[in-house]
C-alpha cells in the first residue's frame, strides 16, 4: 500500500497548482474587465462546457481516488478482509488502555485497530516521528470503531486522540507505542 505521505504530496502539488492558476486568472480578469471598448456576451456554449467540466471533475475525483488511494477500497470493504493482527484498545477518562506497552507489527501486515470508548467521543490517529499523520478515525461511544491498515514501511509511530474531548484531550498521546518491523525483526 502506498504510504499516505505520497498521497499528501500529490494533493499538495495539485492544489497549489490550482491556486496559482486561479489567482492569476482572477488577476487577469480584474485587469481585462476594466478595459476594452464594449462588453461582449459570453457564448452559452462556453457556459455549458464549463458545467460539463465541473460535473466530470466532481464525479471523477472520487472515482480516481477510490482507484488510486489504496486504503479507500480496503476501508469501505474491511469486513471482507482477514486482518493479520488485531489490537483492541479502550479509551476512557482521557486515557488509552493498550493491549501491551508496545504494539509490534510485521512489515506488510494488515492490522485491525479496534478502538472502544467508554465515555466521550475521541479520535484515534497514528503519527510519524516528524508529526505527520499516517491515518485517523473517530471513536464514538456505543459503536464499533475499527480501522484496517497495511503497513508498508518500517518505523515507530505515536498514537494521539484526533478529536477534541475537552481541554484534557490535548494530552492523550502515547508516544512510540506502535513499531513496524521487517521480517528479520530489525527496525529500519
Amino acid at each position: 500500500m502506498v504510504d499516505s505521505t505520497v498521497v499528501i504530496y500529490g494533493q499538495t502539488l495539485a492544489y497549489t497548482f490550482y491556486c496559482i492558476v486561479l489567482i492569476l486568472l482572477m488577476a487577469w480578469f480584474a485587469y481585462k474587465v476594466t478595459r476594452g471598448d464594449k462588453g461582449t456576451f459570453v457564448k452559452p456554449a462556453i457556459f455549458y462546457t464549463f458545467v460539463a467540466f465541473l460535473t466530470v471533475l466532481g464525479v471523477s475525483l472520487h472515482i480516481i481516488t477510490f482507484n488510486t488511494i489504496p486504503w479507500a477500497e480496503m476501508d469501505l470493504n474491511r469486513s471482507n478482509y482477514n486482518p493479520d493482527k488485531t489490537f483492541v484498545i479502550t479509551m476512557q477518562d482521557h486515557k488509552f488502555t493498550l493491549p501491551s506497552s508496545k504494539m509490534i507489527i510485521d512489515l506488510n501486515d494488515k492490522v485491525l485497530f479496534d478502538v472502544k470508548s467508554n465515555d466521550l467521543t475521541y479520535g484515534f490517529g497514528l503519527f510519524r516521528n516528524d508529526n505527520t499523520m499516517m491515518f485517523q478515525m473517530q471513536v464514538v461511544p456505543g459503536h464499533r470503531n475499527d480501522i484496517l491498515w497495511q503497513f508498508k514501511k518500517p518505523g515507530v509511530y505515536t498514537i494521539r486522540s484526533t478529536e477534541y474531548s475537552g481541554p484534557k484531550g490535548v494530552f492523550m498521546i502515547e508516544k512510540d507505542v506502535v513499531e513496524v518491523v521487517d521480517h528479520s525483526g530489525i527496525i529500519k
Binding site: S4, V7, I8, Q11, T12, Y15, Y18, C19, L22, I23, M26, F29, A30, V33, T34, R35, G36, G39, T40, F41, V42, P44, F47, F50, L54, T55, L57, G58, V59, L61, H62, T65, F66, I69, W71, D75, L76, D119, L120, T121, F127, D130, M133, M134, F135, Q136, V140, P141, G142, H143, R144, N145, R160, T162, E163, Y164, S165, G166, P167, V170
Partner: protein, 538 residues
C-alpha cells in the same frame, strides 16, 4: 476639515443622522453590531494564534478552548448573521418595492442576536465552558470538565440568538407575501411559490410559462432562509436537550447520557449545522453575487433562469450533504458516506461553480467597468469561494478524509478562506455599495484606506488559510495544542497573516467612523426623526 472636526462630524460633514429613516437606522445598527462582533472575532483569533505559538500567562488552557468555542459562534451569529439580517431586511422590501412587514420585529431581532451573542460569549469567558461548537455527545453534558451553570447560560445565549433568527425568518416571509395597507390584494401563495422555486419547477411542465413574481435575489434570500429555519429548529431543539441535562444536574439528578446514541446525535447535529455552512451561506452568497453583479453593471444577469434553478438545486443539496462530516466515523453506513458524503457534496462544486461563472460573465458583458470598491471586493469574494470550495470537495472524499479530517487543512484553506475571503469580502462589497444609500450620501474618509483594507484583507485571509493548510498537511490537528512548538513556523506565518487581517479591519473601522463621525455613530442608535415605514427619505 481638521482631524477633530472630521472625527466628530464625519467626512465633509455630509452625514446627517436626522435625515435617516427608521429602516436606514435599523439596517445601520445591524451593520455596526455585526462589525463590532467581527472585531471580537479578529482579536480572539489573534489571541489563540499567539497562544498556539507560545503559551501566554494571561490565558489558561481552559480559557484557550473557551475562546475557541465562542470564536466561530460569535463570527457566525454575532457578526455574519447581524450584517446579513440588516442587509436582507433592507433589500427584500427595497427589491419588492414595498415596506418591511414589521420594523419593530426587526429591532427586536437585533436585540436578541446582540444580547444572545454577548450572553454566550460572557458565559464561556467566565466559566470556561468549552465543548466546542460541534458539541459531540455527551461532551456538552460532561460536568466533570465543565461548570453546569456556565453551560446553562451559554445555551441560553445561543437560544436567544435562535429566537432572533426566528423573528428574521418570519419578517422575511411575511414581507414577501403580505399586502401593505391600501394596496391591492397580493397573491401570497404565488409569491411564496415563486420565492421558493415551486413556480419555476412547475414551469418545466407548462406550455405557457408563468413569469417569476419575485426577483432572483429575493428568491435567493427566501431559499437561504428556509435552511435557516431548519437550522434554527435543530439548534433550538439541541439546546433544549442539553439544557434538560444541565437543569437536572443543578437540581441534583444525574441523567443517563447513554440514553442518547452518540452517532445518531452526531448525524442530527451535523445535518442541522451543515444547513448553515453548506446551505444558507452558499445560497445567500450566490444571491448577493447576482445582485451586486447586476447593480454594478446595470445589466441583466447572464443565464438567469439557470441561476434561479441552481439556487433550488443548492437548497435540496444542502439537505443531503451532511455525511461528509462523518467520513471518519467507521460506524456510519458506507452508503451514506459515498452518496451523501462524496457524490451529493460534489454537487456543491457544480452549483457554486455556476454562480462563480454567471457572476463573472455578467461583469464581462459590461466591459469596461470602473474598478469601484464594491467591484474589487466582489472579485475578492469570488476568489475566496473558488479557492475554498475545491479544498472542501477534496476533504469530502473517503480516501483523502482519512488523512485530512480534523487537521488544520479543514479549518484553514476550507473554512477560514471561505468565511474570511469568500463570505466577508462579499459582505464588504455589499457594505461599500450600500454605504452611500444608507447614509444619504455620506463618503468614506479616504480611498487610500479602502485600498489598504482590501489588500490587507485579501493577502491576510489567503495567507492565513495557506499556512494553516500547510500545517494540516504536515499533520497538525485542529482543536488541539502543541506545547513543544512542533508547528510554530506555520503558526507564526499564520499569525503574521492574521495581523494583516486585523490591520485591514482597524483601517476599515477607522475609515467608516471618520466617514460618518462619532456624532453620526451615536445618531444611528437614537430614534429616527423621519417617521413612517419608507426605506429612504422621500
Amino acid at each position: 476639515m481638521s482631524f477633530i472636526k472630521t472625527l466628530i462630524s464625519g467626512e465633509e460633514g455630509l452625514f446627517n443622522g436626522d435625515t435617516l429613516t427608521s429602516m436606514q437606522k435599523m439596517t445601520l445598527r445591524f451593520v455596526v453590531v455585526g462589525l463590532i462582533f467581527y472585531g471580537f472575532v479578529v482579536i480572539e483569533g489573534m489571541l489563540m494564534r499567539i497562544f498556539e505559538v507560545t503559551p501566554v500567562p494571561f490565558i489558561s488552557q481552559p480559557q484557550f478552548f473557551a475562546i475557541m468555542t465562542a470564536h466561530p459562534l460569535v463570527g457566525i451569529f454575532g457578526s455574519t448573521y447581524s450584517i446579513v439580517f440588516g442587509a436582507f431586511l433592507f433589500l427584500v422590501p427595497f427589491l419588492m418595492k414595498k415596506p418591511l412587514w414589521s420594523i419593530k420585529m426587526a429591532k427586536w431581532n437585533l436585540v436578541f442576536v446582540a444580547v444572545g451573542t454577548l450572553t454566550f460569549w460572557t458565559a464561556g469567558f467566565i466559566s470556561h465552558y468549552a465543548p466546542l461548537y460541534t458539541l459531540y455527545w455527551p461532551l456538552p453534558a460532561d460536568f466533570n470538565q465543565f461548570s453546569v451553570w456556565g453551560g446553562t447560560f451559554f445555551i441560553i445565549g445561543i437560544a436567544l440568538v435562535m429566537v432572533g433568527s426566528t423573528l428574521f425568518i418570519i419578517n422575511i416571509f411575511k414581507t414577501i407575501t403580505y399586502t401593505p395597507e391600501g394596496w391591492e390584494k397580493q397573491p401570497a401563495g404565488a409569491l411564496l411559490g415563486s420565492a421558493l422555486g415551486i413556480g419555476g419547477f412547475k414551469n418545466l411542465f407548462r406550455k405557457n410559462k408563468i413569469e417569476h413574481l419575485v426577483s432572483l435575489p429575493v428568491a435567493a434570500i427566501a431559499r437561504g432562509t428556509v435552511d435557516m429555519a431548519f437550522n434554527t429548529g435543530i439548534i433550538l431543539f439541541t439546546g433544549v436537550l442539553i439544557l434538560i441535562y444541565m437543569v437536572a444536574s443543578i437540581l441534583g439528578f444525574d441523567l443517563k447520557t447513554t440514553a442518547i446514541d452518540a452517532l445518531l446525535y452526531k448525524n442530527w447535529f451535523w445535518w442541522g449545522l451543515d444547513l448553515i455552512a453548506d446551505g444558507l451561506v452558499l445560497i445567500f452568497v450566490a444571491g448577493t453575487w447576482y445582485l451586486l453583479a447586476t447593480l454594478i453593471t446595470g445589466k441583466k444577469l447572464f443565464m438567469q433562469n439557470i441561476a434561479r434553478a441552481a439556487l433550488l438545486v443548492e437548497l435540496v443539496v444542502s439537505w443531503t450533504v451532511w455525511s461528509h462530516h462523518l467520513l471518519s466515523d467507521q460506524a456510519q453506513p458506507g452508503i451514506l458516506k459515498v452518496l451523501s458524503g462524496e457524490m451529493v457534496t460534489a454537487f456543491e462544486l457544480i452549483t457554486q461553480g455556476l454562480a462563480f461563472f454567471i457572476t463573472l460573465a455578467t461583469l464581462w458583458s459590461a466591459r469596461p467597468l470602473k474598478m469601484t470598491n464594491p467591484l474589487k471586493f466582489l472579485l475578492g469574494g469570488l476568489l475566496g469561494f473558488a479557492l475554498a470550495v475545491p479544498a472542501g470537495i477534496m476533504q469530502a472524499d473517503v480516501g483523502l478524509n482519512r488523512i485530512l479530517h480534523n487537521t488544520q487543512w479543514v479549518i484553514g484553506p476550507h473554512v477560514h478562506v471561505a468565511i474570511l475571503v469568500g463570505l466577508t469580502m462579499t459582505l464588504y462589497s455589499a457594505i461599500y455599495f450600500l454605504f452611500p444609500i444608507l447614509t444619504n450620501g455620506a463618503k468614506m474618509h479616504s480611498q487610500k484606506l479602502v485600498d489598504i483594507h482590501f489588500w490587507c484583507h485579501l493577502i491576510g485571509g489567503i495567507g492565513m488559510g495557506a499556512f494553516m493548510g500547510m500545517a494540516g498537511l504536515n499533520g497538525m490537528l485542529r482543536r488541539s495544542l502543541y506545547v513543544n512548538g512542533e508547528f510554530n513556523t506555520y503558526m507564526i506565518l499564520a499569525a503574521i497573516s492574521g495581523t494583516l487581517l486585523l490591520i485591514g479591519f482597524l483601517v476599515f473601522f477607522y475609515n467608516i467612523v471618520m466617514g460618518v463621525g462619532i456624532k453620526g455613530v451615536i445618531d444611528i442608535f437614537l430614534p429616527a426623526k423621519v417617521k413612517g415605514k419608507n426605506l429612504l427619505p422621500e
